[in-house]
Symmetry: C2
Subunit: 519 residues, 2 copies
């Protein structure tokens, strides 16, 4: 045995305490748990939407990192005094903005365990449980959704947990693209066309941009009020035929179950029928509404999914897992693997060579990956299918409750039919300038008057919404469909109960009266 270079070893810096000291971990961990439990208990005392101005934090924090350590007690005081005021409280029961970010006790505990183990599960070998639990829970959830067997591992498809829908769409689009390029030659990349509707989430456009699809070949097909802002097969076919005539190549279509603006539903079956004729890849983006389809009475919204190529939903939106946790199922995992695999020597191992394991690094953009299945597993077990259905149903019921309140008051209009747990409404001005009042002005003048009137009502609703959000008792956001500015009331924050919806209704009434009075 060799001698030590002792002169070097003597100078090893001795830190006062290892940064992962178990007892310090325990002490601080209990503090943070109490901090967060108190936060949830008292969350209604904060304005839902943060009231700070741009640049607020720079004024409160030093210009450089501290040279010496600071105790957790000091840091936590700063969290309370400088961070919390800058937070918009997505966990507040009075939060109805965007879509929910539905935390839960089980989801949080799962996240703690995976953060605690802190494994980097790029392949099976690097932590077998991380891979195997993911495959198992993805089959569990697939069965709960009654996905066809072809999407499950037990049917030669399979599921993977991604961070977000943006990543899921980028991965499937890349797989579809490479399949096409391998068939037609790489030179056609500039001719590939990607379809969605004008209601499809911006994730599709962005995925196209990243994957090298010509931005001119991103085709957001127009929707109308008549089809409740869903993408019709006929409109899709018309767009595809025009592109084919122009020498372009239809590649990919994204159908949405529950669009961001209005929770519209694209009909999967008819869309797949058109897409099949052109050998296109169909992805179903059920980011928001997919989880609700575990309820038998809502399952029909994904009828036709058996003909699609891939399907995704965000468990962090409306399935209690905390951000981030996007569930993606594909029928042909080999298409993903062909497009996304790399096989460097330093990751070679017997398990991979045996081909008996899944190496999820080849199903996603990144190599490294967190142990996300832990939180999904804990959510499924802690609540069980029965309670999960009931939780989702209670949100739908609360949305119906709010819808009924609006429906009973003539000053409000429900702009689009409610499908899940979101109500889209607007306030109507006391006097409506109907086209008829523009006497003898002809069609053009009537149209101009109508447009002017629409903008007047839009402006009323802009003020109405900003008035509510600035007060901070509730938080809602807006969307525009068919030119109509509307307020979105998305129920789904975990802490929201019936009494909060009634409270929100009173806030709505109060601000509506004030704004109508001023208008």
């Amino acid at each position: 045995m060799g001698s030590l270079h002792t002169e070097e070893l003597d100078t090893i810096s001795v830190c006062p305490q290892n940064p992962l000291d178990p007892e310090e971990f325990r002490r601080q961990g209990h503090m943070i748990i109490d901090f967060l439990a108190d936060y949830y208990r008292d969350i209604e005392k904060y304005p839902v939407r943060s009231q700070v101005e741009p640049g607020y934090l720079k004024k409160l924090l030093p210009e450089s990192a501290p040279y010496n350590p600071e105790p957790i007690e000091t840091i936590l005081r700063d969290v309370e005094s400088v961070i919390v005021p800058g937070i918009t409280h997505w966990q507040s029961p009075n939060y109805y903005a965007y879509f929910p970010s539905s935390g839960s006790v089980a989801g949080f505990m799962g996240e703690m365990l995976s953060t605690g183990f802190n494994v980097v599960g790029f392949n099976w070998m690097s932590s077998p449980a991380a891979t195997e639990l993911e495959s198992i829970v993805m089959d569990w959830l697939g069965k709960m959704l009654k996905l066809p067997k072809s999407f499950l591992f037990s049917g030669n498809g399979g599921g993977v947990l991604q961070g977000t829908t943006c990543e899921a769409i980028l991965c499937t689009l890349t797989a579809a693209r490479d399949k096409m390029l391998n068939k037609m030659g790489r030179d056609v990349i500039g001719k590939l066309v990607v379809y969605g509707s004008d209601q499809t989430h911006c994730a599709l456009q962005k995925a196209g941009q990243i994957a090298g699809i010509n931005p001119k070949n991103f085709r957001p097909v127009s929707t109308t009020k008549e089809s409740a802002f869903g993408l019709t097969a006929a409109a899709l076919r018309t767009a595809i035929e025009a592109d084919v005539t122009a020498g372009l190549i239809p590649l990919f279509v994204c159908a949405t179950i529950g669009t961001t603006s209005s929770t519209a539903v694209d009909p999967i079956g008819p869309i797949c029928e058109v897409a099949k004729e052109y050998d296109m890849w169909v992805h179903v983006d059920a980011a928001y509404a997919g989880s609700a389809c575990i309820c038998p009475e809502l399952r029909h919204f994904i009828d036709g999914v058996e003909e699609a190529d891939s399907f995704s939903l965000n468990a962090h939106k409306w399935f209690f897992t905390t951000l981030d946790c996007c569930c993606l199922w594909v029928k042909d995992p080999s298409a993903l693997v062909k497009a996304l695999s790399t096989n460097p020597e330093y990751l070679k191992n017997k398990a991979t060579e045996s081909k008996q394991v899944v190496d999820y690094k080849d199903w996603q953009i990144a190599l490294s990956r967190r142990f996300r299945s832990m939180k999904l597993w804990m959510v499924l077990r802690s609540y069980g299918v029965a309670n999960l259905r009931d939780f989702l149903r209670s949100h739908v019921k609360m949305a119906k409750q709010f819808e009924a309140l609006l429906g009973g008051d003539g000053r409000f209009e429900i702009v689009v039919p409610r499908t899940f747990a979101m109500v889209c409404f607007r306030l109507l001005p006391k006097t409506v300038l109907v086209p008829g009042v523009v006497a003898n002005g002809g069609a053009a003048a009537a149209a101009a008057a109508e447009a002017g009137e629409l903008e007047r009502v839009n402006e009323l609703n802009r003020r109405f919404l900003e008035s509510m959000n600035a007060e901070g008792k509730v938080y809602m956001t807006h969307a525009v469909v068919g030119g109509v500015y509307m307020v979105r009331f998305a129920v789904g924050a975990t802490l929201t109960e019936e009494r909060h919806v009634n409270f929100a209704w009173n806030v709505v009434l109060e601000h509506a009266e004030r704004i109508l009075g001023e208008f």
Copy 2:
């Protein structure tokens, strides 16, 4: 005020307890903290590399999710009995595989807080503190690294937290690609060439695949032992010139500080000089070694960074933040934003329109994003610059300690010079068949004999490594450089102390003796 549809409201399912009940959160949270504190305390009792066989978990779990809820006590018992055996213990002090995944108390507490707040910080508006804290800590860390001001917000550049280096490279490559396509026309996409070395992380190849770069135009330039497996400017120039002659367009080069196989360092300055001549984008991937450059004595490894376009490091590797936390700085944020922005109506807001805020959604692949800066802020404050330097130095010192032990024993060879906290070594067989023994066989026979001998030594080391890992007292992994199979000993698990390195040395000796005896 309207009347309620009471028949619907009456049927709202009343769940026994809200899934985010603060007191249940408190109860379970304390349990999990104690579970994890005990896990860290007792972590040495587990085999470092999981010993399970493929498919082990399927045999232990049911085929479907439970219909009824299960108590946390039952689930935690299963975590202990079915999950932990399938985990490779990246947090073990006896873990020296791949690169570290360096958890810490501060990193964990930061992750808990961001998971607890569970905000979705896609733009400033959605939670101002998430955006502003990120900009501030990225400037802090940039200053600690002595990055040029042009990479900081204070100098019109800026930093962003991504999940992984794969994402960081994909985003910068997409920005570089679109800059070039906007100049040269989209038709040239098939001519763009991406350069790295044959030691560059597979993230570059994968980013190229996803971004639509022709796989034939991914150029891994050969490295040699003479340049310690670093990419030389001369070799890069030769490759570029050949491509230009062939009518291709050089686009992007990735220089690595601390390659995965051997922690080799590509010389940034000379590489930038070549790249500049061709108007290429230079990304510096310092995923592993970047954090060490906060120590003044190691800062020289990133000399020349002032000429690069972007720079990234993984704080989750060797900077105590837990997975995932990749820090990316760019000189020209507008290039990222042009390539990655989308601007849907439902996200429009006054703050964005005022152009006084950063909307990080346009700096990354995904729309949704976690509040990652919280953990980086807590690490910086909890330890301070002084301790952080000392932690990293202590890892380097422990690697030197191990290197010294190997160096004093003639049975081992240090294959490449140690640069940071990783030692690459191999075991040598007792008898080496030197080429000279092949009498009168000529050059071809000598070369064949040499290749045969190399493979014999490689096989010896394969067995040696597998013998150690199968026993489970320590975990190391391998790489191959210049045809030589070597064992990588990467110090950096947070709990590793001098005594563990001495323990690992004894394991190495024991297995070396046994394998040499059998060989």
